[in-house]
């Protein structure tokens, strides 16, 4: 296990960490005059900027939020219960639908849990392909995060939409590559017990490199949008500051944690796949505000592009899967002690806590650790004291995926 913490951090100098005072999410409202001072506004569950079906009940004093209560669960599909009824071979396509902006990482995490319990080693080429796909998926996912955040700031009829459309355009390039590899646009079912299901087609890497070049060229514009547009900077800088301690307590990892100064990245700190063979630069910002959360995603996309190029250049030869292909639903048999496995998804630590049954064909209990649920739980701590317009900006910068929150 690599313990190398020496990789470089990109810390922008313009802000220092000033932890804001902690907000009590259960604030007592009785000091306000009933029906006089406060007003309840329900944001959602169907609202243009709640990123799916999430509902926040805001108690407003004028336009200033006094209390925010989040209500997830409008997309609770009982995935964990469903998985208990399915066999291991059947579960991967279900998990694709959880984080529908990064299905690759969802299915990889589950299969890694199986492999850990069963003690199966994935061949190096299989791991390498998983690493590559995870990085490409991170690019695609962050692009949407950037675009939707800009749309939340700029409005559906306005300048923010430009960025939204452009990032979707760039994402299509990645999706085309995935479609060529797996035959599906974004529910891939390509990761399986013991490795990968689909091998890289010949000449696939050339197309991906071309797409990466294009994305990198255009990332300049998105970075500029975050720094050179004064209105955008005014809307983001110093808004929704999340201190490091609170971020740790809330379990925020990934871009949100790193924007708040937590120097932690599972790819570097606890390497899985082939990450121990790569030098990963982990950007860390200390400001913890919306702008930092935007910047960190832009920087991570650039880093992922660099890693993807490196990975594409050196794909090793060999088998992609150490197990026989899945033939029947009960072909995967995994017995052993329960395990918790986590990988670094685009939104943070994505984990699977898995207890297999005695027979070893089904999970007895499977708990998915969704980074987005931790992210949306932040609203109760971040929104009070902010303006109504800031609520939208903060929620956009958290980039939650409701399929993953509610499962």
């Amino acid at each position: 296990m690599s313990t190398d913490h020496a990789s470089t951090h990109v810390v922008t100098p313009w802000t220092a960490l000033t932890p804001p005072p902690r907000v009590d999410p259960y604030v007592d409202l009785s000091e306000f005059e009933a029906d006089g001072d406060l007003m309840v506004l329900n944001l959602g569950p169907q609202h243009p900027s709640t990123h799916g079906v999430f509902r926040i009940k805001l108690v407003l004093d004028g336009e200033v939020i006094v209390k925010a209560v989040g209500y997830p669960g409008y997309l609770h599909r009982g995935v964990e219960k469903l998985c208990e009824k399915l066999t291991f071979a059947n579960i991967t396509p279900i998990l694709d639908k959880n984080d529908y902006l990064a299905p690759m990482t969802s299915e990889q995490c589950f299969n890694m849990a199986l492999e850990k319990i069963a003690g199966v080693e994935v061949p190096r080429r299989g791991r390498w392909i998983r690493t590559l796909l995870a990085e490409l998926q991170r690019i695609a996912s962050h692009l949407i995060a950037i675009g939707t955040f800009a749309m939340d700031i700029g409005g559906a009829i306005g300048g923010g939409t430009n960025l939204f459309m452009w990032t979707f355009r760039e994402r299509e390039l990645i999706l085309n590559a995935f479609e060529e590899l797996t035959g599906s646009r974004f529910h891939y079912n390509t990761s399986c017990f013991g490795g990968q299901r689909h091998d890289l087609p010949a000449g696939w890497d050339l197309g991906v490199i071309k797409a990466l070049d294009q994305i990198e060229r255009r990332m300049v514009e998105y970075a500029d949008f975050g720094t050179a547009n004064p209105i955008f900077v005014n809307r983001c800088r110093g808004i929704g500051v999340l201190g490091r301690d609170l971020a740790l307590e809330l379990g925020l990892s990934g871009p949100l944690g790193r924007a708040s100064g937590i120097d932690h990245d599972l790819r570097r700190d606890a390497p899985y796949h082939c990450y121990d063979e790569l030098q990963i630069n982990v950007p860390v910002l200390t400001a913890g505000d919306c702008e930092a959360r935007y910047d960190i995603r832009v920087q991570e996309v650039r880093e992922s592009i660099r890693l993807s190029r490196q990975l594409l250049a050196g794909v090793p030869e060999g088998p992609i899967c150490s197990e026989k292909p899945n033939i029947g639903p009960t072909s995967v048999r995994v017995k052993g002690a329960p395990a918790y496995v986590a990988i670094e998804g685009p939104r943070g630590e994505l984990g699977t806590f898995l207890i297999p049954t005695d027979k070893g064909t089904q999970p007895y209990r499977m708990k998915i650790r969704p980074p987005s649920l931790h992210a949306v739980a932040v609203v109760e701590h971040l929104l009070p004291g902010n303006n109504l317009s800031d609520a939208v900006a903060i929620l956009g910068s958290l980039d939650p995926i409701m399929g993953e929150v509610d499962r």
Binding site: Y26, D28, L29, S30, F32, A34, D35, L38, M39, V40, L41, N42, L43, G44, P45, Q46, H47, P48, G52, V53, R55, K57, V59, G73, Y74, L75, H76, R77, G78, K81, L82, I94, K97, Y100, L101, I144, A156, F164, M165, W166, F168, R169, R171, E172, R185, F186, H187, M402, G403, D406
Partner: protein, 306 residues
Amino acid sequence: MAVTQDDPQTDAVTPDAAPTDAAPTDAEAASFAEAQALASAVLGGVAAPTALDRDSRSYSNPLLDKVISVPGLDVAVATVERLLDWASSNSFFIFPMATSCCGIEFMAAAASRVDLDRMGAIIRPTPRQCDVMVVAGTITVKMAPRVRKLWDQMPEPKWCVAMGSCAISGDFYRDIYSVVPGVDTFIPVDVYVPGCPPNPEELMKGLKRLQVKIGMQRDGTWQRSGMPAEARPETKSLKLGGLLRIGDPDRAAGLSDAQRDASRSLGFDGAEHRGADEDHGNLFDPPESPPASQAAAAELEATHES
């Protein structure tokens, strides 16, 4: 002032916006009629609000009726109707009922590669101004009353597109305790776009099919091309716990009483339902400790004492 009934965000209105909660008086009814008269005078006969049973899909078109009531113009009914259909089918204002994965493909359809805007379809966030509700994604039991409410808030004529297998039948979530097995159990669906999720191009194709359908129907029923009413495309009748789909021959059009009550229980359909939303009541009270933990704590104490 009467109680707030319709609100685009299903949970949005509480009595704060309205001065009082009271039943409408005669004076108000009179003022309403007056306002209608005034508005129709000012606006030159634009459709006045009518009390509709929204469950029935028969919608008389006031504008068309007005036009054909002019002597001599009644011969032009077909032309006028075709014109209206042309306008409706080329100017879709879409309400995005986007809940999950299909919502992303819906956004991709609105983005640059497919671009729904080229056929005149734009996305409006409020149901009041929308013609087409695209249900993209799984609808859960918790969400279903809201979806129904938003559908009710859309003005006629309106259409519904079920995008993706979750919205069509619930897909592999259909047996889950919290998932509604298909949106057509409580909303009449006009076009089904299959796929998990369907590609953006498929959605556009579905909207094209909706355009064809609009051209062939009037007042919610098939009129033109000699197509019989029973030819309306429906999914195979799927039975789950006696839940019939709208359009199944055994089921009357519209909601069951229980579904209607459930969708009204959100508190937007009359004074008696006002306070029924989950916790507007204790807004100004300090948070209570929940009954479950209280009971459990009491139970614990009891066991320890014994």
